[in-house]
């Protein structure tokens, strides 16, 4: 019994590390005298440790393949392990990049970091869930910590409103998710993925004709779509992006999407693999609506944060195209999301860095001021924008290419044409930023507006994060091929 339990613990060792780290941080509130850069570095360290632990199961690497534990409610397959790897690596980057912005403000407290670590724990757990119990609890763990974090720490005027909106829409969507789970439970009488899969195999005909099935999968997709910011469950996105602090924005913009997408892929390939094929129209609908709505919303948007929000929705539409059912397991969507997320983190990180330098980059037009800082940043930003717009040979292009290829191979011509059309529209708003960066004239009397006293350069995290965002930018730009062959 104990042996079994210990064996099972191997499945969650990285979650345990994360949880432990979060708890230690909570304890540290008792000893408030810490240098400011300790907490972000500590958290990054914890995540990296979790990352390392993920790949060092006590036995050999293969022993974890298809391994189940805790009464088969958790499973570690190579696919889920790799998703968790991406998730933790991105989380470390996000925290490193976000760290610098946080330490600048006086309101740094370890609680914030423990919340982040709990949220990451939830995300990692979600990716190894083999049971709706675990999935639900992990999803809530990830989301609730994020709601709290958005409200907990704010650097703008409207963070509380953003948190409120995020929370309420999130709560509604998670009750939709639960409703979906309830219907599926009602249909199959099981919450465990393997059992559901077996029952599906046995009685797929009866299941597919039952109204519970439509209701269940519809509600389920809605709940997951909310986390992935797919239209029409995305209306919170621009508001929250605009109001949340940079750190929260980075977390919201990347982690839940990655975790939920990974979970969706595992779900659709696993227990729902038999009915996955039936979802083509629904997913096409989500994809096309997201792309169109996101692109249209961003097209005339002046506020940069909102623009990134709409752009996120449009990009998730492309991810959804990659999620369209095909013959074999396609990672086109995950590939796209990774490329997009890295670009997103790099853009937000660079912009936050420039804002800390004293530039006001609220609106798109404000990007003319970027020419007041070293040229390299402007070039990086422009390249990132080109990458987001999907201009070859940058990474964004390969992401789109792989997604379209996947869809075309399986005959989703309409989605591909819509995607190409939206790519053209979306190029407009990315190029507008480049126009501001390179071609618009500086307003008169604003030369030399950069604050004379930039950030205290002594912060280690600060330098690291700057490095990290530049590095991420480089990754998006240079390692396009590496990512596109995943």
């Amino acid at each position: 019994m104990l042996d079994n339990f210990l064996m099972d613990l191997k499945l969650v060792q990285s979650e345990l590390v994360l949880l432990g780290g979060g708890l230690i941080l909570l304890l540290m509130t008792l000893f408030p005298k810490r240098s400011k850069e300790f907490f972000p570095l500590f958290s990054v360290g914890i995540i990296l440790m979790a990352f390392a632990v993920l790949f060092i199961p006590s036995g050999s690497w293969n022993s974890v393949d298809g391994m189940q534990g805790f009464f088969a409610s958790l499973e570690a397959s190579p696919l889920s392990q790799s998703f968790r790897g991406y998730f933790l690596a991105l989380a470390a980057f996000v925290l490193l990049v976000g760290g610098s912005i946080t330490i600048e403000k006086e309101k740094t407290a370890p609680e914030g970091y423990s919340l982040i670590l709990f949220s990451i724990t939830g995300g990692a757990l979600l990716l190894s869930a083999n049971d709706f119990f675990v999935a639900f609890v992990a999803l809530e763990m990830m989301s609730l910590s994020l709601y709290a974090y958005v409200a907990f720490w704010s650097d703008g005027a409207n963070a509380k409103e953003a948190a409120m909106k995020y929370f309420i829409t999130g709560a509604v969507s998670s009750s939709f998710f639960l409703m979906g789970v309830a219907f599926i439970y009602g249909l199959t009488g099981a919450c465990q993925f393997d059992e559901i899969a077996n029952l599906m195999k046995l009685e797929s005909e009866t299941f597919l004709s039952s109204p519970l099935w439509y209701l269940g999968i519809g509600f389920l997709l809605a709940g997951l779509g909310f986390k992935m910011a797919l239209a029409p469950f995305h209306l919170w996105v621009p508001d929250v992006y605009q109001g949340a602090s940079t750190q929260s924005l980075l977390l919201i913009g990347v982690l839940p999407k990655l975790a939920t997408l990974g979970f969706s892929i595992l779900l659709l390939k696993g227990p729902f693999s038999l009915v996955y094929e039936e979802l083509g129209v629904a997913i096409t609908f989500l994809a096309v609506l997201s792309m169109g709505w996101g692109a249209l919303g961003a097209l005339t948007q002046r506020n940069f944060r909102r623009l990134m929000g709409y752009s996120a929705v449009a990009n998730m539409g492309f991810v959804a195209i990659g999620l369209l059912p095909g013959d074999e397991i396609s990672l086109a969507s995950m590939n796209y999301l990774l490329i997009y997320s890295i670009g997103f983190v790099a853009v937000i990180g660079l912009v936050a860095y420039l804002q800390n330098q004293g530039l006001s980059l609220e609106t798109v037009d404000d990007f003319v001021y970027v020419r007041q800082v070293p040229e390299a940043y402007r070039l990086l930003l422009a390249l990132l924008m080109f990458s987001l717009a999907g201009v070859p040979p940058l990474a964004g292009f390969f992401g789109k290419f792989v997604v379209f290829k996947h869809a075309l191979q399986h005959g989703y011509t309409f989605a591909v044409f819509a995607g190409i059309f939206v790519s053209v529209v979306s190029a407009a708003y990315y190029l507008r930023i480049i126009k501001a960066l390179y071609f618009d004239a500086l307003p008169e009397g604003t030369e030399g507006l950069v604050a004379e006293t930039p950030l205290r350069q002594s912060f280690l995290v600060y330098r690291l994060s700057n490095l990290a965002s530049v590095g991420l930018a480089a990754i998006t730009i240079l390692f396009a091929f590496v990512l596109s062959f995943l």
Partner: protein, 640 residues
């Protein structure tokens, strides 16, 4: 010798890079010193090569392989500099004229703001021209061919603020494109027949086995004739032969030294060079050679008549260039390839001299180019007059001047070839010779003799050019004087003498008889007559003397009007049609512009409905769920 060859070719490139890159750091004087230095070195190297070539009697060849340019399967194009008699002659001519133009420009272009741009273009042009003439490979030749075209475009449009200069540059570029297209087709045909672009190898292959005829529109045409015609049209574009000549007079919008270098001495002779280089190919053709003969003869005649009525001093010389190029083509056509190249060589000197002399006149007349406002310049500008006179006599073919020998050779060959082509080309060329004498005399008379027609203020400013302009003039005058006398024995040597097997060099018939002498005597008489008659300028006198022909000639045989009506107008209308109905009313309304408009509208509409009110978000969520359920219910499968 390899070093000399490299120096000769890359000197101008260094000069170009120098002028282009360091123009901020250097004063104008330093600039001309450096550029002149590099050009001087290159010219010395080129002259050494030339001397060596002449001394060895053509028995010397150097090849400097630089790199393999393209290598695909069996095909390879190498980049190599090679010196054989033909290319060394060209290298020498190009470098000497280019060097002198560099020097001359310093004074002529004084007061120009961005002189470095000018020198950079000049250097680049010289480099491209040298690449062209030192090529053993058609691809490299084409590279140089296009390079000189681009530089010509840039230099014609050097004063880019001037609308007319821009248009002239554009015209030169476009007309040259037509020729270039045919050159590329010729190259393609050459490659198709021989599987190589190497000139020597390909030509010997073509000679050893007569290729299958091409079938054009159902009738078989000898392959060599097709190639010959294609290369001929290519050459016609660059060498401004009748039909594709319209750009050359307009190109006079560029600075005068540029006209001397590019549009008289070097670039426009590239066509002649090309055909001479491919002379073994033409030797085996009848139709293509006949075409070359008639193109040359007609060009010589037509350009001569037009030159007769031009009032712009530069345009007179430009048409004269056209006409002389026609002579060279005539020479090529009748098989006197060595004669044509010899004429190219002497023409380079005396035409550059005439242009630079005209430049001196224009310079001292404060950019006045109209001969009707000149006159009587021999008094204040004795030196220039003397130089111009030497140039004119060489052009007219006065005995002992350089033009005499080269033109003589072509005329004699044309006469000798009457069995093959009849006497037509010869008669036309005799008429052209008389025309040449007439317009040259008219130009000299109107410019230098008689009374000054310039206004008082201008007259006071007329001056003799300075040393920097006189020195090149003097050197060129020397060339115009002696190049014929010294060169004709070598150049016109028949068989495998000087030219080796690089070009076909027949023995030029040379026996002074009434046939050769009469035209020369008539020419000289006409020259003197024109000199005297046009001493005084009266507006209507010319019109009366040639009657209805005058309008025809003033309008340049209506070539421009014809092209305007045939090509420019229809294309313009077509463009208008597509613009108005295709673009504005069609694509713009429903295409990108219209869609953009719609998209922006849609975006604003979408955003307006987005007030930030929380319940609407939930409403969207609920609607989304319902829609999804419906879609899963009815969709089941794939869309699209």
């Amino acid at each position: 010798m390899k070093l000399f060859l490299k120096l000769a070719v890359f000197g101008p490139l260094i000069s170009c890079l120098f002028a282009g890159l360091f123009h901020r750091q250097l004063s104008k004087t330093a600039l001309i010193r450096f550029c002149g230095f590099f050009m001087g070195i290159a010219t010395l190297a080129g002259s050494t090569l030339f001397m060596k070539m002449v001394k060895s009697g053509g028995a010397f060849a150097v090849t400097v392989p630089l790199m393999t340019w393209i290598e695909i399967g069996d095909f390879s194009a190498t980049w190599a500099l090679s010196a054989d008699p033909l290319s060394v002659v060209m290298i020498f001519l190009v470098l000497v004229v280019s060097f002198l133009v560099h020097l001359y420009s310093y004074e002529y272009m004084e007061g120009e703001e961005d002189l470095s741009r000018y020198y950079a273009y000049l250097g680049l042009f010289t480099f491209a021209m040298l690449m062209l003439v030192s090529a053993q490979d058609l691809l490299q030749l084409f590279f140089g061919w296009e390079g000189v075209g681009v530089c010509s475009y840039l230099l014609i449009g050097y004063w880019y603020e001037k609308e007319s200069a821009n248009q002239a540059a554009m015209k030169a570029f476009l007309v040259n494109r037509v020729g270039d297209l045919f050159l590329v087709m010729g190259m393609a045909g050459f490659f198709y027949l021989t599987q190589t672009l190497e000139i020597g190898k390909g030509l010997s292959l073509l000679q050893s086995a007569v290729p299958e005829p091409f079938v054009v529109l159902g009738t078989p045409v000898p392959a060599l004739d097709v190639l010959g015609i294609l290369f001929l049209i290519g050459a016609m574009g660059k060498s401004a032969q009748l039909g594709l000549h319209t750009w050359l007079p307009d190109a006079m919008e560029g600075p005068t030294p540029v006209s001397a270098l590019i549009h008289a001495a070097t670039m426009v002779t590239a066509g002649v060079y090309l055909i001479a280089r491919l002379s073994p190919l033409y030797l085996d053709t009848t139709f293509a050679s006949t075409c070359v003969v008639w193109v040359g003869a007609l060009t010589a005649f037509a350009a001569g008549t037009i030159a007769l009525v031009q009032n712009d001093i530069k345009k007179v010389i430009a048409y004269s260039t056209c006409s002389q190029l026609g002579y060279m083509f005539l020479g090529l056509g009748v098989g006197a390839y060595n004669g044509a190249v010899f004429h190219l060589f002497t023409h380079g000197f005396f035409k550059a001299l005439l242009f630079l002399g005209a430049g001196a006149v224009i310079h001292s007349m404060s950019n006045e180019q109209d001969m009707r406002k000149m006159g009587g310049l021999y008094r204040p500008m004795k030196m220039t007059f003397a130089f111009m006179l030497i140039g004119s006599l060489a052009l007219v073919g006065f005995p002992l001047f350089s033009g005499f020998y080269s033109k003589e050779a072509i005329l004699a060959s044309a006469f000798a070839a009457q069995d093959q082509y009849g006497l037509g080309p010869w008669v036309l060329s005799i008429i052209s010779l008389v025309l040449t004498a007439a317009y040259t005399g008219r130009m000299l008379g109107m410019t230098f003799l008689g009374r000054s027609r310039a206004d008082e203020a201008l007259r006071a400013r007329i001056h003799e050019p300075g040393l920097m302009m006189n020195f090149p003039l003097a050197l060129l005058a020397l060339g115009a004087l002696v190049s014929g006398m010294l060169g004709y024995k070598k150049f016109l040597m028949g068989g495998k003498g000087f030219w080796g097997d690089k070009i076909v060099a027949p023995l030029i018939p040379h026996h002074v008889g009434i046939v050769e002498l009469a035209p020369t005597v008539v020419g000289i008489c006409v020259f003197v007559l024109a000199l005297v008659v046009f001493r005084k300028w009266k507006e209507k006198k010319l019109a009366k003397s040639i009657g209805f022909m005058e309008r025809f000639l003033v309008n340049k045989w209506y070539f421009d009007a014809l092209y305007q009506a045939l090509f420019v107008k229809p294309v313009w209308w077509l463009g208008q049609l597509f613009w108005v109905f295709g673009d504005q009313k069609g694509i713009d309304a429903i295409g990108p512009d219209g869609l953009t408009h719609k998209a922006v509208e849609g975006s604003l509409k979408l955003r307006r409905s987005y007030t930030g009110l929380l319940p609407t978000y939930i409403a969207a969520l609920v609607m989304g769920v319902l829609l999804l359920i419906v879609l899963i219910l009815f969709g089941g499968g794939r869309l699209g």
